[in-house]
Amino acid sequence: MTRQIAAARFARAIAALMMTALLQLGVAATAIGAEPARTADGKPNLNGIWQVLNTANWDLQEHAARAGQVVTLGAVGAVPAGLGVVEGDDIPYLPAAAAKKKENFENRLTADPEIKCYLPGVPRATYMPYPFQIVQTPNYVLMAYEYAGATRTIHMDKAPPNPVDSWMGHSVGHWEGDTLVVDVTGLNDQTWFDRAGNFHSDALHVVERYTPRSPDALTYEATIEDPKVFSRPWKMSMPLYRRLEQNAQLQEFKCVEFVEELMYGHLRKQPSK
């Protein structure tokens, strides 16, 4: 082997190593979410169909797998384990509210509003085990949830005053850098946070933050404030994942027809004796 050939091989090897290093750096940069895709008005483009991959809807807090309450459902009705989505895993209930939470948990099979296909409220709509779609326009961001066909409109410019408390609340949004911040008020006291009986009052104030973390994931954070129920504000956070199927589309989950027997069955005409 001549010295020239050896030198050329050495140079190629160095170049290859440098290329690999650069590629790795590039991948890392993307994963950290350096530069999100943008809409025509220069905002991060949050359009898409998103879904969580966690068990927050069963229980916001850390929980081991446990049996369900309907014996005939067996493993199908069991609760999958979860590491929890609450910062510090502590939900700071006031004493009376802590007792109410316990009671809710005991009565969850009948008392959880999800059982009756009621609108889920915020933030629960985000982490139910169904996809939702963000439809982002400059003046409005529509959140359309597959569960119960629930929707809410986030007002980005001039928000009208909140007319009356509602199930999905009154949402007003703005951008803080690349984060969509949504201030949610006007929520009624009829919804829960999860199937474990975590609850709130009509004084609930939620501040949500949607931040791109990679092309196909967002970070979702929700700060919960409700002086009638909690001794201090608390926070949950979780990733939202993009549904990447080529044909991804929200389907109908109009659950009214799945709960009518449960809700009205006792009022059915009985077979004549």
């Binding site: 003046n139 409005y140 359309a144 629930a150 389907q251 009022l267 005409k269």
Partner: protein
């Protein structure tokens, strides 16, 4: 056009102006709609489709396609009086309510508007040219007869209610009375908000609150049947065309079937007006396709949450009422046999 500018002193000039403006589509063609950032005609906003123009032209109007101003004013006056639920004595009956029946909602609940459409058409149906629904097939007649009979029983306070499944989808909060597809002006909540992104158009009706998310990427219809069908959209010039098939059981139109193929067209006709047209092809029910045109007006008001199912105390009450009536009849029969 602002009608306040025309006073009685304008006389013939007004008539000429009205005659020139009458074929609205011509005016519409000359108006250039604003565009979204990606170049689509911008249909976005909240649109109000309240009107007292009937779907079908009253038979007495024959071939009359448009009202004159005077006729329009007269029709509005009479129709507003006729529709006024507070003026109907249940014992006497009126509108569609038979004597001795039930007038279930008073005027408080209505928000149907009090004007006919701006085009002064005598019906929302524009085809067939007589402004009326086409002849029904034998299956269509069967559906219509059954529906009329059930409605009559409901109006007489004897609703068919062995279970919720005997009640219309609207009462069950599964589909909205007027939300469609296709959208048709109704008793209240005649509002829709349109959203656009480069890939989708979204139709959000206030009535029963769910969003119809329509892909614009040319993907074929799916296979699943849904209550609101399966919608696909594309642009034809400045018109958004939405094609819907795969309805689960029926559309929100009375007597319709799952076999419906619906084509809706949305065209901006002015800064504050949008023309919504739809063609219904349902060979199970009607012997030919038919088309209606519903002009919409821009609204400054937001869409509110209409939590229909959550507040549906009526369903339990209807069923409980039917059971109570049965019990009373049973007891009366027992007394009679003693």
């Amino acid at each position: 056009m602002n009608r306040r500018y025309f006073t009685s002193t304008d006389g013939p000039a007004v008539m000429i102006a009205v005659a020139l403006l009458a074929p609205l589509p011509v005016a519409a063609q000359t108006w250039t709609p604003p565009r979204t950032a990606d170049g689509q005609p911008d249909l976005q906003g909240v649109w109000d489709f309240r009107t007292i123009t009937p779907l079908e032209r009253p038979v007495a109007l024959g071939t009359k396609e448009f009202f004159t101003d005077e006729e329009a004013a007269n029709f509005e006056k009479q129709e507003n009086l006729r529709q006024d639920r507070d003026k109907i004595d249940p014992e006497v009956g009126g509108l569609m309510y038979p004597p001795g029946g039930v007038v279930p909602y008073n005027e408080f609940w209505y928000d149907r508007g009090n004007k006919i459409v701006g085009t002064k058409r005598t019906s929302l149906i524009v085809d067939p040219p007589n402004g009326r629904l086409p002849a029904m097939t034998p299956e269509g007649k069967k559906r219509a007869d059954l529906r009329a009979a059930e409605q009559r029983e409901t109006q007489l306070g004897r609703p068919h209610a062995d279970s919720w499944e005997d009640r219309p989808l609207q009462e069950r909060c599964i589909v909205g009375l007027n939300a469609g597809p296709p959208m048709t002006p109704g008793a209240y909540n005649n509002n829709v908000q349109l959203f656009q992104t480069p890939q989708y158009v979204v139709i959000l009706n206030e009535m029963v609150h769910d969003a119809r998310i329509i892909p614009l990427d040319g993907r074929p219809h799916g296979h699943l049947r849904q209550w609101k069908g399966d919608s696909r959209g594309h642009w034809e010039g400045n018109t958004l065309v939405v094609d819907t098939t795969n309805f689960k059981r029926e559309t929100s139109l009375p007597n319709s079937s799952a076999n419906t193929h619906l084509v809706e067209r949305f065209t901006r006709t002015g800064a504050d007006t949008l023309l919504y047209e739809f063609t219904v092809e349902d060979p199970t029910v009607w012997t030919r396709p038919w088309t209606a045109a519903v002009p919409m007006r821009k609204s400054a008001d937001p869409i509110y949450e209409y939590a229909c199912h959550e507040g549906n105390y009526a369903m339990a009450s209807i069923l409980a009422g039917a059971r109570a009536a049965e019990k009373a009849a049973e007891e009366a029969a027992k007394k009679g046999s003693k």
